[in-house]
């Protein structure tokens, strides 16, 4: 059985041809690999290919099908695309709403909200200021926009990726 896998922006087809203990034969697109794959620590894999030793660390992403994969000095977003994922991806495309949400990419504290619902903001103006780890980050709009909804208030603690402001 073959799976679709997304590595950053590259889409590949990956297939497990055979497996015996730690020995795997895998086809990824047109490349055939004979590998020795061992999970050495929780989420840490040692992979030998043609005697070359690779070390790969996996951190689970948003769900059990998405990973951040760290190689020596690079990190990749890898997503295993099965039927469920495909369905969700299609639905998201139709919706498109999430483009209009200002979210904090990291946990922090809302220091300042400079507008209120219904306000018009000019391109480049700061809407929200969030503080985390002694640094203040300003979240601006790129184009002229209208504030539709404000989901947080000053002093709130926000989680990573939590929507703060909905804009039109």
């Amino acid at each position: 059985m073959s799976y679709e896998v997304k590595i950053n922006n590259r889409h590949s087809t990956i297939e497990l041809l055979s497996r015996e203990g730690t020995k795997f034969n895998i086809l990824i697109d047109k490349n055939y690999y004979e590998l020795d794959i061992a999970e050495v620590e929780k989420g840490v894999y040692s992979i030998l290919h043609e005697n070359r030793s690779f070390n790969v660390e996996l951190v689970e992403g948003k769900n059990s099908k998405s990973y951040i994969v760290n190689t020596l000095y690079e990190a990749f977003d890898v997503e295993i695309i099965d039927a469920e994922t495909k369905y969700l991806m299609n639905r998201r495309k139709d919706d498109g709403e999430d483009q209009n949400v200002i979210s904090s990419p990291m946990p922090g504290k809302v220091v300042k909200i400079l507008f209120k619902e219904g306000d018009f903001v000019k391109a480049g103006e700061t809407v929200v200021v969030v503080s985390a780890m002694k640094m203040e980050s300003e979240y601006k709009v790129k184009q002229d926009r209208k504030i539709k909804r404000i989901l947080v208030k000053e002093g709130d603690t926000v989680k990573g990726d939590q929507p703060m402001v909905v804009i039109e």
Partner: protein, 502 residues
């Protein structure tokens, strides 16, 4: 005599101070905020006292609660680490009044050096060269503009009470003056509760070189040579090394003598640092004095062979310095890099979170001062520094190679870190050649950009690892026991489940 030390700090520096205490047979007390219950300094200390909620202003900056904790646990000394209350003269005075030894300089020295303008005046009086600029704090914008026009652009605006790059603005163009001053003042107000600023001539292509000094309570002061700290991003040091690649023995001797003179001018005792700004011709000017231990103190410890925290404690105990200037020498080369929980490829956005996995670098010539562990959550309330990696080797070339080797073996997942960025710094020709000043990072922007070194095979391997992990999880689910078994053998079941890591 100091019997028990309360460390009024957190993170790596709290643990580092406790290590030296333990070697001296001195008990230690940790203080912690609510979110730091599981922090390493709480685990490492003999005693631990909770002093309040997460925000520093309600815990690590609460002088009263810290002194109360010292009394409660019978600590007869307080070590402030760096940051927080380390340069707070009032806190030092409160300790004194309560009969607790403050492991640091006198309140007078903190006050004098802490106010940048008083410090300038004192240095001028002591014959130490200073950068041209104001000698009075500027409290309004009008005066500021007049002064700037007199000194001539470019100038640097700095918070009088400041440090660490907070409340600092470079002004190159006339039209930026007003916004820069108000920005610096509001930042200074927020950070230090004092919006006074001062103005200095801006020296282009400057080097930041500082001298470590130690003074005892009997009037002896020595310097422990220089640290080169010019690799800075937004006025925050990123890489420090000693000796400085641009230093000559003659200038070192002169600067060292001036550093000692600067300290003596305020009857300094304890460990302190004299920061100089140095131009390409090795002309140098007093910049400021840090009246505390520096983040980068370990490179001096390694090259000079002195434990600075132990010296601080000896000095606080009233002991005379055990060495004279001529006993001290530099041996080999040391470099420190600071590992931050931040995303270097996304505008250095802080990256708090849970450490999923950590493997620390080990072996010959490597010192690692950290405090995080697997499962530890780096809180969003404090400085995002995870650890400091310090290497030593006989030569600078070997030290750089060793640092690369250590960074190669240093693995953290769960939060993004500056490790890949630090590795890129070590590969910039200007760094390798030791030809750099404080503009290094902006001038080498292209070199420091993320490059994709991963071959097709390397990407394939990354994808395969994720794929194998995923199908292994799926497989394990299929051998899951039925409901009936669940009731009886929950233990075995739990075992199987805990392997899944779903």
């Amino acid at each position: 005599m100091i019997k028990k030390v309360l460390v009024a700090n957190r993170g790596e520096i709290a643990v580092r101070v406790m290590r030296s205490c333990r070697e001296m047979g001195i008990e230690t007390v940790a203080v912690y905020s609510d979110v730091d219950r599981k922090s390493m300094h709480v685990r490492y200390a003999d005693d631990a006292v909770c002093i309040g909620p997460a925000p520093s202003s309600e815990s690590y900056l609460r002088k009263d609660k810290i002194i109360e904790a010292a009394k409660l646990t019978g600590a007869n000394a307080i070590h402030p680490g760096y940051g927080f209350l380390s340069e707070n003269a009032e806190f030092a005075r409160m300790c004194e009044k309560e009969g607790i030894i403050f492991i640091g300089p006198s309140p007078y020295a903190i006050d004098t050096m802490g106010d940048k303008i008083t410090a300038r005046k004192t240095m001028i009086a002591a014959g130490v060269p200073v950068v041209p600029g104001t000698t009075e704090p500027i409290l309004d914008i009008k005066t500021a503009i007049e002064v700037i026009m007199k000194i001539g652009l470019p100038v640097m605006i700095k918070a009088s009470a400041g440090g660490g790059g907070k409340g600092m603005r470079l002004v190159k163009r006339e039209e930026d003056i007003i916004s820069a001053i108000s920005g610096a003042r509001s930042e200074a107000k927020a950070a230090f509760g004092d919006d006074a600023v001062y103005i200095e001539k801006y020296i282009s292509s400057p080097h930041h070189i500082e001298f470590q000094i130690l003074g005892d309570k009997h009037g002896h002061v020595v310097h422990l040579f220089e640290r080169e700290c010019s690799v800075q991003r937004r006025h925050q040091k990123v890489v420090e090394e000693t000796p400085s690649p641009i230093m000559t023995p003659e200038v070192r001797m002169k600067m060292g003598a001036d550093a000692v003179a600067a300290a003596k001018a305020v009857n300094y005792y304890g460990a302190g640092t004299i920061e100089f700004i140095v131009d390409d011709n090795l002309n140098y000017y007093f910049l400021e004095m840090n009246t505390r231990l520096q983040v980068e103190h370990p490179i001096t410890e390694r090259v000079v062979g002195v434990d600075l925290v132990k010296q601080q404690i000896h000095i606080a105990n009233g002991l005379p310095l055990a060495f004279k200037q001529e006993d001290l020498k530099q041996s080999g080369h040391a470099i420190e890099v600071r590992i931050y929980a931040e995303d270097p490829d996304n505008n250095f956005m802080p990256s708090p979170g849970i450490i999923k996995h950590i493997r620390e670098p080990l072996g010959l010539g490597v010192r690692h001062d950290g405090y995080v562990y697997e499962g530890y959550e780096i809180p969003m309330y404090y400085d995002p520094m995870i650890s400091k990696l310090i290497v030593w080797a006989e030569t600078r070339v070997e030290a750089i190679a060793r640092l690369k080797r250590a960074l190669f073996a240093y693995k953290i997942t769960g939060v993004k870190t500056s490790i890949p960025y630090l590795h890129r710094i070590l590969e910039v020709p200007d760094f390798i050649n030791g030809r750099y000043n404080t503009h290094f990072i902006e001038e080498n922007h292209e070199y420091l950009k993320k490059r994709n070194n991963c071959t097709e095979r390397c990407m394939d391997v990354a994808a395969i690892a994720a794929f194998v992990d995923y199908i292994t999880k799926l497989d394990s689910l299929q051998v899951e026991p039925t409901t009936k078994e669940l009731g009886n053998s929950w233990k075995d079941f739990g075992r199987k489940r805990s392997i899944l890591r779903l």
